[in-house]
Subunit: 485 residues, 2 copies
Amino acid sequence: MTLRVFNVLGREKQDFIPVEPGRVNMYVCGPTVQDYAHIGHAKTYANFDIIVRWLRYSGWDVLYVQNITDVGHLLDSGEDRILKKARQLAAGPMQIVEQYTRAYFEDMDALGVERPDISPRASGHIPEQIAMIESLLEKGYAYVVDGNVYFDVRSYAEYGKLSNRRLDEQEAGRREDIREEKRNPEDFALWKKAEPEHILRWNSPWGVGFPGWHIECSAMSGKYLGQTFDIHGGGIDNIFPHNECEIAQSEAAHGAPFANYWLLTGTLLVPDADGIPVKMSKSLGNFLTLRDALKRWRAEAIRMFMFSAHYSNPVVFHEEALDSALRGWERLYGAARLVRTVLRGAPEGDAGNAVLAEVEKVRADFAAAMDDDFNAPIALSALQTFTREVNTLLNSGAEVGRAVLEQVDAVYRDLGGRVLGLIPEDEAAGGSAVREEGLIRLLVDLRQTARANRDWATSDRIRDDLAALGVVLEDRSDGTVWKVN
Amino acid sequence: MTLRVFNVLGREKQDFIPVEPGRVNMYVCGPTVQDYAHIGHAKTYANFDIIVRWLRYSGWDVLYVQNITDVGHLLDSGEDRILKKARQLAAGPMQIVEQYTRAYFEDMDALGVERPDISPRASGHIPEQIAMIESLLEKGYAYVVDGNVYFDVRSYAEYGKLSNRRLDEQEAGRREDIREEKRNPEDFALWKKAEPEHILRWNSPWGVGFPGWHIECSAMSGKYLGQTFDIHGGGIDNIFPHNECEIAQSEAAHGAPFANYWLLTGTLLVPDADGIPVKMSKSLGNFLTLRDALKRWRAEAIRMFMFSAHYSNPVVFHEEALDSALRGWERLYGAARLVRTVLRGAPEGDAGNAVLAEVEKVRADFAAAMDDDFNAPIALSALQTFTREVNTLLNSGAEVGRAVLEQVDAVYRDLGGRVLGLIPEDEAAGGSAVREEGLIRLLVDLRQTARANRDWATSDRIRDDLAALGVVLEDRSDGTVWKVN
């Protein structure tokens, strides 16, 4: 099957042709580590997580680089805050940056987002950024004014090709000062002179300063992925000016195409007081960190919600949608667990092998959906359709042989687990989270036995002690489910 | 109470006088991230962990910097291996470095070692290293030969003051090439010319190359802690040449003292085939990673073992010692849990308040030990003596009031938990590990009830299902204990 992707550069769905056969070199703009990741970040990185997981699952050799912005954009936008917390030269901002970098990875780990192969930090690549700026100056794409270096957007004819903005309709970027010293208002800073109050500062051929925001992504992607690489990802909100500036800098400096395919995720919106979906912002009071969301919903429910729309679409985040995603996940995981339970006592043989046609179908449908621009909602719905067939079979009372159940189980492990990160690999071995799952299940089963024996004291004790441990049980007609707070 | 520390620089115990009142700026040489951390690393970082924890607990404002060596020493010693795994320019070595950096933090987290405030990476501080080398050249402490820069050890009169080596008795450092081009064989490289096969390389005033091993610690400690700071830590094995070179570079470049106090940890040894304690090495087959050790013993047992000797002493690692440390920890934690259990049903009042004298004594003894050069084994033994008194009291059948038990409980939380990292803060709230503990305890209690009711089916089911989840029960005369595999 051919992988096809919607390329924002050119706005069309194209066959994916890698630079090197079998390999995918991929760069995704990472977080600015000045605060906790919010659920909008979670959407972007969960979307790219299953893109990478699917590519690897289907045999591609992926090298995934995602940067950490700890200077540049951070200094532009958050320095006041950092200065306030700063304790002494250099240590202050770096302590804050370290704290939020760790928090970022902790939160993404908790969401089941696999780590990038390389997470380069902007502050750790100052020489590479300076070298790139020197090259742009040599080639006449940039100019120096009083310790600042600017990119001359009119020197690069294709400026605007990603965002489809023509120069004459552009406003000056909000983050760029409209300075008299710039040749054009749209020119953006490659290097900024450090004012006395700037803490993070480096020597450069143009004096003491720090890099502009955009140059880091060009320098680090070039270093680790080469001048021309396959996929550049990020959130759609950064298409202008950030992504546009990356392209201009990289192609001007290298004289070679930058990323061949641009995949950008749609924005996560939240309803305002009137129910109108708007972007999250602290001033609107609609800001939710991933950390807080994970206290309320388990990671798989958040992932289910994120995968309910195509990655390029916006989604509206509200509690009912999350609760509904949780119920959807419980149905999926419930079936996967039931298969594993039945499998433990299953007879040898291939009784019930009519369902193998469904196994084949779900694998084919899932692959077709994911190879069609990573269409996760369609892939997920194939898995849900399959789950209904599985439930029908297992509830029919018909005997199902081990050989058949193993193939059903493998669908959940491969597509639900390895690709979507929704089904834990193993409940009995490995990590503590898996053991916790098993311990709770054992207690729920013991309580079931106690209830069957009308031993209400034991049944209540288990429920109450579990509640004290943050595990809330809910008895439903189809069994007992639990939620871990 | 005055804090006193044994200063390796001068070989005497001294009153600790900080550069700035109330503050401790501390630097500890971190790992070279080319492999998993072994239990020798675990000793060093667990030792410094309780030093930092004690300083903070007793009111000091600590800034703790620990570097990550991902270039320099790594390139000296591990490049063959990295080159073999390398996939493409720059990405190969950085992928390996990222993998082991993550593994390092995962393993230290698992051991309960709190993160440093800043973990600067050598590859992320090339400009700072170059600036320092430039300063050494300007001041005449270094010289350039064919793209290499060397520190001239004879230009710095105090070279050897930490390790007490006189230049005329020194061999050339093993890691330094004996090159004709050096003025003295002891001179060490500040910057090395990159040979064509070197992957990680940067521009410098002396050509394309990479920093020598030692300069990173001088550059990064200077950046984040200032020219003169309070404590420099590390393992005794690095006293020469590494620590000695750090001092020479920093004091020569800054014309100011480097670290005021040097605290170095003793080596972890393992018995060889004849039972003779030797250093770990892969060729001897006596190499144990922390990751593997944690599969065998729980983190607290490993910490107990590490704290059984003063940080500056060597320890010999063998299985019996770890098993014995585990039993010691179980006694300690058993008492702490018993106190919490009794506390839940305790009557109001201060019955049993005679034990408050023991509370006062253990706090005083513990503090005296830790303020005397962080003497953890003495501090731990004070806690163990206290535990015997607590067990005697609780087993006496005498009533103990809530007010008294709360103070006993606070000893375990403060000294056993916050300082030594041996007693979990809370069994019912918070992290998953704590919940797991609670779930297992509930199951053990339910099994106890089942046994009392001669309900062997339920009792066996709980034992067998727990075993399948990796939790092994052992029934002893004093109750049931468990071990998590």
